[in-house]
Symmetry: D4
Subunit: 234 residues, 8 copies
């Protein structure tokens, strides 16, 4: 039966009803992606409950929770001792990570960009690829960019994370033809307007073939890059 035709049955196995939320446990079947809990605006109790439910349905693969408050991080640590916490990414996983297929290089410009880069790297791992993490590569210090050319060329997909003027994707994109996803971060002040300057810089990159995700959206870039790397290495 076509999955688009049957009614939204409360007993629908594709939906988990938690009272405060109905979780789409069918997305994996449709898109091949794991379950994810977006933690912003959710109470620590809700985060734990959703993680527990999703893990019970799919004990054989990792569930990811992102944008966790310090309180949610703490409660997940206490209530779900099998969970793995990533304090830089403000995220947690529960269940075994999939075997890695292909490699995504995650490059970031400054230490302030680390949380977004870490979220991207974790998303890549949870969605099935390996990560090569390259930090502190700013355009005002070109020798660092040039020093990692071989690692850039060896990857199946690149995620480039930068705030302020967002120029790093242009420089990296001029050095290699590997598919490149740029992530603007809200790092900056004054006329950076919370990441708008970096977003515009990346959308207007003079290097062809640069694509962009929303400000601070490390997760989205990681999902996309893992999809590319997985199918490349298959």
């Amino acid at each position: 039966m076509d999955p688009l035709d049957d009614p939204a049955d409360p007993a629908d196995p594709r939906t988990a009803d938690l009272g405060f939320a109905r979780v789409d446990v069918d997305r994996a079947a449709r898109t091949g992606d794991p379950e994810v809990v977006y933690g912003e605006g959710k109470t620590p109790d809700q985060v734990v409950a959703i993680l527990r439910t999703l893990h019970a349905r799919h004990p054989d693969r990792a569930v990811l929770a992102t944008r966790l408050s310090p309180e949610s991080m703490a409660l997940v640590g206490r209530e779900l001792p099998d969970a793995t916490l990533d304090p830089v990414a403000r995220a947690a996983t529960l269940g075994p990570l999939p075997q890695a297929t292909g490699t995504v290089a995650v490059i970031s410009a400054g230490t302030s960009d680390s949380p977004v880069a870490a979220e991207a790297a974790l998303a890549v791992r949870v969605h099935g690829s390996a990560v090569d993490r390259i930090e502190d590569v700013g355009v005002a210090g070109l020798h660092r960019v040039l020093a990692v050319r071989d690692r850039l060329a060896a990857a199946d997909c690149l995620v480039v994370v930068a705030g302020m003027e967002g120029a790093l994707p242009s420089v990296v994109g001029g050095l290699t033809g590997v598919p490149l996803v740029a992530v603007p971060t809200s790092v900056g002040y004054g006329a950076s307007f919370g990441g708008v300057a970096a977003l515009l810089g990346m959308l207007n990159s003079c290097a062809p073939g640069v694509t962009v995700v929303n400000i601070d959206n490390g997760y989205g870039a990681g999902v996309f890059a893992a999809r590319v790397a997985r199918q490349t290495a298959r």
Copy 2:
């Protein structure tokens, strides 16, 4: 010798000096991409001259010229009879197209989005992949989207072109896990602000793994998608 160390020699074989422009004929070696002429702001004579120069250097692969004015289209047709003109994409190619590796599906919402979608499709072909072109698939008529699910799933990468509210990538992205690049177009009126509404809609897509290029930038989306499809099918 490291290509980054030698001086900008006027006799540098990596640069073609045309008087009014020095063309970077080395990019192909560095990134694997063909030469491209961005026609906006160039006179018909300049377009013809650059196409001729680049073709003479690389007679074995196609050179692409985009954003051509009607006058440039006409002069290319007269002066370069071997060129192939694409009036919808406002573009031309000179030289043999490469053999196609992998497939990119280019989906567009309305007929007004056709020029951008055609530019994307041509860029895909010139950069080495096959194209599956799907037109007139708007979110206000879901049966058309649903009718092409199999073609979406069969592609190695998707390019989704839409103006107005830019909702099509969210709907398509919810149906499949194939990597998806969204292109906002400047189609719309009033508070569409020349494509800003569609751009924001795509950056905020609720479907994970959607990446975005600049408004009307069909070429950039095509380059990116071809890179993904080529390495997937290799």
Copy 3:
């Protein structure tokens, strides 16, 4: 006597003077709508005082208070034991709800949109229509939208609440010809700009006949939809 001609008499029966505010108790006569207290920026004591005054004037029909702070919610609960509290909508009513005429379907995309959708639903009830509440209907999971087509078609008016890219009204508006009011919510991050992305998406909807209210303005959408449903079913 024409109501527009007499002076603003302190003893004017159309105005209730509470010291810190003069309340327009004549609006009901002019527009057929009940009294409403906008709670934002008012102290808990002021909210209770206005509710009590309006209820004393019109004990036979409900008064609505919206945008209540937790402190106002608590004080209303203690001081006005006959009031009904709606914690999701952050609102309260005092006095009997009117008999329902016609039905408004209130559809929301994600759980984060619930407060705005709940405010809309309560406004519909207070202004005299019945509500069919449909939750968790996102465009990235089309089977949920399609599963409720019959409920959409059965309503006299639709209120569609969505944040992020605001695409749900376009999809719903393509499935039915029932009048549709869209409510953008401030849910989202980065380039959602506090609901601007959703607002622009809805204003540029490719589905004809979609109208829009201000960001997070569930109350305004509910008033409008109830007016349409009431006069339809009369």
Copy 4:
């Protein structure tokens, strides 16, 4: 068979393939609305061809073409002598108008708002309701607004068209409880920003129950208002 499940058959009776466009002739069945041709960006020949095709399929009801260039208006007049031209609305209809059910009052502030108001009025007629057209009703001359109170109250739905500061919907909305759709126009200069000032004014109206459509979108307001008026008067 569910209309959402069959493939996009070139022989699909729900689609008319004109070479340069596939027209969704099934929308009427789905939403009860007639066919409409959006003329902006189409050549006069294309406008005539689409009008002719749609009229041939549905000779018993009017087809509407909006946003016509002077050239398209002229060619429609010459090629389709049965068409009715509306030069103020820059629009044309072909085929018999439906019998009117219910009444929509279309109120505009200044003579510069006339084209948008005329487009709204024509859309109301084509979508099945009668129109009461009220012109030159600006908020800086209140006696004109007050003089038409009875006509406002007698309508089933109101369309209020205004540029500059967009204050007219607030004043009208305070006088009556009839459902009200506001249309901001691009009339104004300097910091009106092509209608943005009026759009923001209408979204922030202090009169409850005002909904808004895109700048200059008379058509959308007309469709919506006719739907409300038709179902009210049925």
Copy 5:
């Protein structure tokens, strides 16, 4: 000696040096206006010190302090028992108010606009005119506006304070030819953008002869209006 030619002498009698600020005590001589202390960003101690210094120099006329924090209000009340506090305007005066010349009518739309209107009214008094304060006059309830026509016409200058769509100046400006200064307030939510909607509405007013000051700038409007009223009544 021309006051523009002598050097910035630390002993310059036109400047009072308080260590953390040099106060321009010469402005009164140059422009005829009293001294004013802008309290935002100043500590309570600084506010008291500046008020005390300015009062000592000019004991015969009032000094005004605006934008006071609750802490500054409290300390001024304790340390300067002769000061007069205005809790609605968040302001204080020290010294005798000047005799009033001419009358300014200060009209406000809603109770949330009261702080800005109260600041304007106090500024008018301190700068030498009488005030006629008219509250709760919204455009969605025209009978209140019409009821005060005589008071509007009797004033020498009008200050009209409104948030949300900022339509009140247009309506008032259409009723009378008295000079009118409009003050947008940051009251509103969603797409009011902190007063930008009201500001744009007022700048685009269809009533001729409306001038505007910055968002929430009751003080500036009061200064201007008092200057007009004073010279009119002289």
Copy 6:
């Protein structure tokens, strides 16, 4: 009888019906201002017709037409030989100018601001005051500002016209206490954004008592200033 109560009679003596426009000939009675024709968007024939109609009703006082195209200027000159043309202001008057009461000084920064300043000056004259016109007074050449201090102080109201950074009102406003209306012009390039930079500069002036009108709105500033000057000198 209250003028706000009678219906919009086609024979209403307060309205002149010209077919394409109904002109509010009653405004003068209500606000004391003369008739004005806003020429933008009107054909030369319409401009001439409205001028003729208004002049016939009020032959004893001037009618003003602003924002005239070169074609309208030419036709007015041919058809209405008694009209006076002002080519810099792009405006015309018909009928005798009123006797001047009070004086308005109109100060402009650069020669590019002349059209707006000339419109303001003409509006002042038509609305009943005398004009002292001061040109080429930029803040980057302070000696010119300082040289006209006496003329500034002698005026009853100031109109200060400036583009680019819009700093002139701050400098002038620091030199005198005469009421000051600032007019931002669209002169500038790049990040002047068509006058937005000047508008923001004027709204944020550090000189107290500066009010602002819309970009390029010389007419509005002139009306306001004449009202102030007239009542001052009366």
Copy 7:
């Protein structure tokens, strides 16, 4: 006598009255800069007249005219045979260029940036420094930037001209400590917003010590850089 104190005498030798403009011929004395004519908005006749007047007053040093229309360029060529035309910069000079003191390197990213870079270079020469012009140095081709490191380090000041994402100043500023002025150009499309993306990128540069001028303001950057180079080399 202090030049700021004497009145604006029509016979003032510091001002040249041309009827349509009073030219500030005193600026050179005050700031050491030559005379400049901003050609935008001026007729060809006016440009020629001002050039001739200024040259007559200072025959011993060059006068510069910028932003000339093709018509003005042609008339200057015909009427002033001693003038030197720069067609790329759209500018002309009349009179002998000063001897060069110090050197400014003017670096530009693409051929579309040439007009702005040429204007900057000419302004540098007219204001008294030598120019080292470096073209076609984009961040997506780093070897070109690196190849000119010695020329960058040898300059007394740098002017870096770039459109699109405006990343070149960050890369150059990371390679050297020479003072650097960045000029954003309006080159780009879509979300470049006429140079705003480049402007924001430059304001947010991660390289310290980068300053910025307005979009396309090559002249301003050239003036500034020449001042720095002149005083450095003196």
Copy 8:
């Protein structure tokens, strides 16, 4: 060996690895500038650790830390007793300041601009020039500007700091030809938009040769000005 060619060796003497950050200790060699720690977003412990490391490497010249939180200021004071704290600039230095070459005048408009001006002044000192600090020089009180003309003319470079309308650089730039860097501050309210009004005012300055840095970026202006002053006085 070219410093751009060797790999990013963990033992690279140009990089100091602190675990949470790799510090670029090579920048001084490349650009002649000292080390700087940007304190925003760093914990007090991190600030102390980086200061200590950089000081150990270069004990003979000052290290600067900016944007310090009160907590970081306190910890630096306790842990690094040799550090010098600047509470107005919210900054600290460790190690001996360099001998001053040349002079930079730092001019600010109001007391609220002091923190930004103090950061600029400290940056000038740390980067090797002397400072002449001029405070409280607003355009609404011209006598203060005129009184310091001699100090302006005597400087090698000017840094002009202003909020609100940002007009001070235009006035100062008209008085002298010394190179001028303008710093907009976020001081203001309402439509100042956190410094955007001042930024736009400075970018559009009518005084030629004004360059601008980001909002509140006193550090960047100071670096630039010191570079200019150093090379001028050498």
